[in-house]
């Protein structure tokens, strides 16, 4: 580590591994906003968590499921950012340099998310049916041979070991990506772009495997009988779509508050909008592939997933998902105008983030309420809770450093970038 960038103390390290470098930022790229920027979301988050804590005390099963939805939502955003940054480095992308600091700051959420994951650890028994040991005990009346057959994979110690491995990988790669970029801000070491590419090349296959299996472990095993090989891709598709919405929204919020004016332009927003549209369609393609193949083959062990989501009121939720996650946004986002008129784009970004949350809700909640469709207050409060803390820490991180990788050698190409 260079002398100009200092490490934070161990506690602070969880929020931001480096001490502030904002004083060395070009004034144009400095964070100029009150502390409200991060305190407000943090306050909302804490309020949400407090409300949810009531749920934990009164209806713990509901709380755990609601919390898993909110937490997985934030995890998917962080993973989306992880892939976004990696892909920009590997393709030597020029257009995205001015917006890259946003996902770079976002991906240092993994240590915080690991801590925020504690309630899930405590709720394992409520969340994951396969943790019930009587299911794998041949002498028990609840013995389930199918789940018993999976016991060597679906058992609590191995689950925790896998989670620890995933988080170690994500934290390690993110640490490298985040600190290399910040180091470049103050110390233009010409070897940094190469180091960034190198760590990205390692991070891509590792990230692919951990994201796919992480998605399956956290969400697919909620119904331990059900299986789908495409599930990891499904989880990735939603994540990668959402990160585009996050980047565009954060950029617009910063610009509204007087930062980065003229740095991030309509051209960059249009490109983000294209990716938002593209990966929304990709999500639909993956979702359709999964649904159509299961529907067509009509095997009971597979259709059970959709059966739960097509009866007892859940069919309305499924229809909402289809209409609001694909059909309507398709016709809005397909046009050039929707990506270049910023209020429209902002509206669609919020929309896509909400439906992405709804997508995770639609995967998780029917496991709890199989017999009657419902949305709980805690679904919203736990989501706001985790998301608020997640965003608060992210904005705080953003405020401590330059808002743009100010010495990235491709920065000038990004600044002058236009769609032709």
């Amino acid at each position: 580590m260079s002398q100009t960038v200092k490490r934070s103390n161990p506690l602070m390290w969880l929020i931001d591994p480096l001490q502030p470098t904002a004083s060395q930022a070009d004034p144009v790229y400095r964070f100029k906003w009150s502390q409200m920027a991060w305190m407000l979301p943090l306050a909302i988050g804490i309020a949400g968590l407090v409300i949810s804590a009531v749920g934990w005390a009164t209806d713990s099963r509901q709380f755990f499921f609601s919390y898993l939805i909110g937490w997985s939502f934030c995890l998917s955003l962080a993973l989306g950012g992880y892939f976004f940054v990696i892909i920009q480095h590997l393709t030597k992308a020029r257009w995205s340099v001015v917006i890259r600091r946003i996902p770079e700051a976002l991906i240092w959420s993994f240590p915080l998310l690991a801590i925020l994951g504690i309630p899930i650890v405590l709720g394992m028994h409520d969340l994951y049916h396969w943790t019930h040991l009587e299911l794998i005990d041949p002498t028990s009346e609840f013995y389930d041979p199918v789940i018993a057959g999976k016991a060597s994979y679906l058992n609590t110690p191995f689950f925790f070991a896998r989670m620890a491995f995933y988080f170690l990988v994500w934290t390690w790669i993110s640490f490298k990506l985040y600190t290399l970029s910040l180091r470049q801000d103050v110390d233009p070491d010409p070897s940094i772009p190469k180091q960034q590419r190198k760590i990205s090349a390692i991070g891509l296959p590792l990230g692919a495997v951990t994201t796919a299996f992480g998605g399956m472990d956290l969400l697919m095993t909620l119904d331990p009988h059900w299986f789908s090989t495409i599930f990891g891709v499904y989880f990735f598709a939603g994540s990668f779509m959402s990160i585009m919405a996050v980047i565009a929204l954060v950029a617009m919020i910063l610009q509204r508050n007087g930062m980065l004016r003229g740095v991030i332009t309509t051209e960059h927003y249009q490109d983000l909008g294209k990716f938002l549209f593209g990966f929304m369609v990709f999500w639909a393609y993956i979702a359709f592939s999964q649904y159509m193949l299961i529907w067509y083959a009509n095997l009971p062990e597979e259709t059970i997933f959709y059966r739960h989501r097509l009866e007892h009121g859940w069919e309305v939720f499924s229809a909402i998902l289809l209409i609001f996650h694909f059909i309507i946004p398709f016709f809005i986002l397909v046009g050039r105008w929707a990506k270049r008129i910023l209020p429209v784009l902002a509206f669609m970004c919020v929309w896509m983030l909400v439906v992405h949350w709804f997508d995770i809700f639609w995967i998780v909640a029917p496991v709890l309420h199989g017999d009657h469709a419902m949305m709980s207050l805690y679904d919203v409060s736990a989501w706001l809770g985790v998301f608020g803390v997640f965003i608060g820490a992210f904005m705080y991180r953003l405020s401590r450093h330059a808002l743009v990788p100010q010495r990235d050698p491709r920065l000038h190409k990004s600044l002058s970038f236009t769609n032709t």
Binding site: D26, P188, T229, V233, Y285, Q290, M292, L293, A297, R407
Partner: protein, 486 residues
């Protein structure tokens, strides 16, 4: 502080060169035209005749085999019960897969602003179209009752024989024919400015007429370019979902069934990744030969090949990860039939095919992590061929190993292709190379106008050395050569 840091940044940026030029050898626009056009204009070399007669012989073998098949029926193939799908489907999927790189390069890489695509897109698109033609042979001939093949098309007839719209085999007819049509239009539209160049250079009347008709009155006017670029962008946007849809539909042929090893939800994206993987391998194989024979090494540089090798590494790893996921979920599912199908693939009678597939698709491409190897022409040539061997075996493994031991052990059997199967497949290479050699002989194999567009000279400020908005004195001196159109 800010001025100092800005200066520092500028100095740092100025030293930063990690992108090699797309066209090497200090070529001018006219050099590009010459290098590419001359091969369609010179006297046909003897070597071309040699290669062409070899390819034509292959095509003849295919035609003879198909005639033999029509005369005798599908009994001449090695099909048995339960393996009712053999070489025909394997070859169909193999060729459709190869036909994916062209449109990916011309459409998706275009939308991603990957300028290096210009060096290889024309020949890759040609490869796509010819590969799809090779693929289309098989659904046509495999039906057995060849006189009823037209029933695949949704044309009304007096017998009220409508196609089975619930069958993915019918979706295939639509998916592949749409893909073929759009790819052909895309290829042709992209070629119009270059055909106009050939027309303007033509020395014989017939050639000028033919090229004149094909170039559709192209004059290079501002308005022509504007329409052309708009059309190109729209076609790219239309072709992009097709790249994904075609092989997804092909994967449905298997995945909608309940045959263990066929029915798995990862199939659509995994087939698409595999198709891109094999397609790029074929582009590399052809490009290595073509750049050598046709002396276009300055246009199709080692950097182009390296980038394609990176895509081969990426897609190969995706395919490999899909194999592992499939295998894992087969175990995880707890379904004994799935579990058996996968163990049988690895250790059963077709284990040799399975391990060929695994080593060629997952293992060998991993060598491309090493920069030296992905820039070594002999090495990548070997790998590119191994990849296509592996991808052919992937389809063989999927089709045959899943079918030969189905739910009814009494009907288990071992499938062996007959000589007719093998020669028909060999013959499709004859068809492919016949078409490809005709393309190399008569059409510009490099998109000249697009390559020129990514050269430094295309920058409006290129000749403005002083930065004052005026062209420097020495660069206005136009040599007679440069006065030529295009």
């Amino acid at each position: 502080m800010s001025t100092a840091s800005t200066e520092k940044t500028l100095a740092y940026t100025a030293d930063f060169h990690d992108e090699a030029p797309l066209v090497t050898g200090d070529l001018t626009f006219h050099d590009i035209t010459e290098i590419v056009s001359v091969h369609t204009e010179k006297k046909t070399p003897l070597a071309w005749y040699g290669a062409f007669s070899l390819a034509l012989s292959g095509l003849m073998i295919m035609i003879i085999m198909i005639a033999y098949l029509f005369w005798n029926g599908t009994g001449v193939w090695g099909l048995n019960n339960p393996v009712g799908w053999g070489y025909a489907i394997v070859n169909f999927v193999f060729w459709v897969g190869i036909g994916h790189a062209g449109t990916l390069i011309s459409a998706i890489l275009f939308l991603f602003r990957q300028q290096w695509r210009t060096g290889i897109n024309r020949s890759a698109e040609a490869m796509t179209i010819f590969a799809v033609i090779c693929a289309l042979v098989f659904p046509g001939i495999h039906v057995g009752r060849i006189w009823a093949a037209y029933w695949m098309l949704p044309i009304p007839n007096q017998m009220d024989m409508w196609p089975q719209f619930k069958s993915p085999l019918l979706w295939d007819v639509f998916a592949v024919s749409t893909y073929f049509t759009v790819s052909l239009v895309f290829w042709y539209v992209g070629m119009i400015p270059d055909i106009a160049t050939l027309r303007d250079r033509a020395t014989s009347k017939i050639r000028r007429r033919v090229m004149g008709v094909l170039s559709m009155g192209w004059t290079g006017a501002n308005r022509h370019w504007r329409n052309y670029e708009k059309a190109y962008l729209l076609l790219a946007a239309l072709a992009t979902p097709l790249v994904l849809s075609v092989h997804s539909v092909v994967s449905f042929d298997f995945a909608v069934s309940i045959v263990p090893g066929w029915h798995t939800t990862i199939f659509p994206p995994y087939f698409v990744a595999g198709a891109i993987f094999s397609g790029f391998a074929m582009v590399v194989t052809l490009a290595i030969v073509a750049r050598h024979v046709y002396a276009v090494k300055n246009i199709v540089t080692i950097d182009h090949l390296e980038k394609m090798n990176i895509i081969i590494l990426l897609t190969g790893s995706i395919v490999g990860f899909a194999y592992i996921t499939e295998f894992f979920i087969a175990w995880y599912s707890g379904v004994q039939y799935e579990q058996y199908a996968f163990t049988n693939r690895m250790f059963g009678p077709y284990a040799w095919a399975y391990w060929t597939m695994m080593s060629c698709n997952l293992f060998f491409p991993q060598f491309f992590w090493i920069k030296k190897l992905r820039r070594s022409i002999p090495f990548m040539f070997v790998i590119s061929i191994l990849v296509n061997v592996g991808m052919w075996f992937e389809r063989f493994v999927i089709v045959v190993s899943s079918l030969h031991r189905d739910y009814l052990p009494s009907s288990w059997d071992y499938y062996t292709p007959t000589i007719v199967d093998i020669l028909t497949f060999v013959g499709t290479f004859g068809l492919f190379f016949t078409l490809y050699l005709l393309f190399l002989r008569f059409l510009p194999q490099v998109a000249m106008s697009e390559v020129k567009g990514v050269m430094p000279q295309a920058d409006p400020h290129f000749y403005d050395h002083a930065g004052d908005g005026h062209v420097a004195e020495h660069s206005v001196e136009v040599s007679p050569e440069n006065e030529q159109p295009n």
